[in-house]
Symmetry: C2
Subunit: 272 residues, 2 copies
């Protein structure tokens, strides 16, 4: 089953475009979990059990696991194994190395770990995408187009001018994406809603992974309006606002309530 | 001791600007090692023992370890621990995430693993550098300016025009580098010798990490001419041409011979 098929099935089954970012941060974990010896895996398990019927994907970010070195990566490997088989997993690693190194990443994350999609950084050019899709054309690569951080425009430019690096990436890399059948696409932050509209115009057929919702204050209405393509709905990611909804013993229930509220808000915008 | 101090001491002690890339690839490992259950760590140990008096740094690339999932990252963690304390370690991970994620990477690689420098990708802007140096100003970030792959110019532009993305990164990010005292700098591939000269012109005070020597066919004379800055020599990396110099039982001796030849070739160019 390709990434596209798996994503569509999860979006339909759970009636959801919501993705939850599984990003463990020591100081933000519930107070109870901060007392556990190795909190990451049991914390993630509780969050997954409480939300797996509400999401279209999970997105763990490699950086938050690497902060514990190899022990964190073991917890990530086990977290990936704990996610139900019918929910797509997007590994957020923003990899962007030259050809033979990208292929090594592909072997690890697609074959060893079985993740369904990975984020990549276009700075090196086509090498960021093609070795991954040559290895596994059924998987998906989400290439950074417009990141969600405040300083993003410094090198990426202002997309509303339809010029600059992000515009160039969207136009050029759309052609590379055709190499795969997993429905590849772009990362476009909801924190730049006017640029999200232009990104959809420049890459009409691409899948969109949209971060910046929740703690970063992104525009959910723009994500719902410009996120969908002809094949699937967007993957709209929220992290901290869901998984750290409560620091108390009720953290899993609070994460579930936050996920329901966000999924329902998205669905209200879809039908509105 | 800052990265700069450690690098200068190693360059002086071993009379070397050579860095060896520790990039394990299953199909390239010596035939003997391919029969071992977990070949990565013992292979790396043999290479390190055979070359530690010949190099100014080691550069393991995270992607080549991730191809074995968490088991590979454990082997990387142990490889890092096996490198003598007086040889700087540059983790090549080309990380480029937004602020709080870059800081998490910094905690892992600088504090947990004790590496001395990391490579980063400038696509997101200042977030690629500043959270790392805010966490550990004594460490070094090498930011991608010109990568060594054939398709690098597609987004990075032609540096000899002094315009385009690589030129912009070199000019702008030189200012961010001043935040640290570890002597940060740029990755500039030796496969674009004319651009290496312009990179030195645009970033006169930056440290240079120069890949592309050996198997990629980069220009060693240009690396020696434009690599040094006022504080230190460049870090000139060779990977496959050294560590896979022989597939036989003599692989460590052959790696040592290849490293001596390359170090001496660099030193002949320095004094020539």
């Amino acid at each position: 089953m390709s990434y596209l098929e798996k994503l569509r099935a999860a979006q339909k089954k759970n009636n959801s475009w919501l993705c939850i970012g599984l990003d463990p941060q020591p100081g933000l974990l519930p107070l109870e979990a901060q007392r556990w010896d190795e909190p990451v895996l049991p914390f993630n398990r509780r969050i997954i059990e409480a939300t797996a019927d509400l999401v279209c994907a999970y997105k763990p970010n490699l950086g938050f696991y690497m902060q514990w070195g190899a022990a964190g990566v073991i917890a990530l490997e086990r977290t990936i194994a704990a996610i139900p088989d019918d929910i797509p997993i997007i590994l957020d690693a923003k990899i962007g190395d030259i050809g033979h190194t990208q292929a090594a990443w592909g072997r690890g994350v697609f074959d060893e770990w079985g993740v369904d999609a990975i984020t990549a950084n276009p700075y090196v050019g086509a090498d960021a995408v093609r070795p991954l899709l040559a290895w596994r054309p059924d998987k998906c690569v989400y290439l950074l187009a417009r990141t969600s951080n405040p300083g993003a425009q410094r090198f990426q430019g202002d997309l509303t001018t339809r010029r600059g690096l992000s515009a160039d990436v969207l136009r050029e890399a759309s052609r590379w994406m055709g190499d795969g059948d997993g429905h590849c696409g772009f990362v476009v932050g909801a924190t730049y809603p006017a640029e999200l509209a232009v990104a959809r115009e420049l890459a009409p057929a691409a899948g969109f992974l949209i971060p910046g919702i929740g703690a970063q204050g992104g525009d959910l209405a723009a994500a719902v309006r410009y996120g969908p393509d002809r094949m699937a709905g967007p993957v709209i990611n929220a992290g901290r606002s869901v998984i750290y909804a409560s620091a108390g013993l009720d953290f899993a229930e609070a994460a579930r309530a936050a996920a329901i509220a966000l999924r329902d808000e998205i669905n209200a915008l879809r039908s509105g």
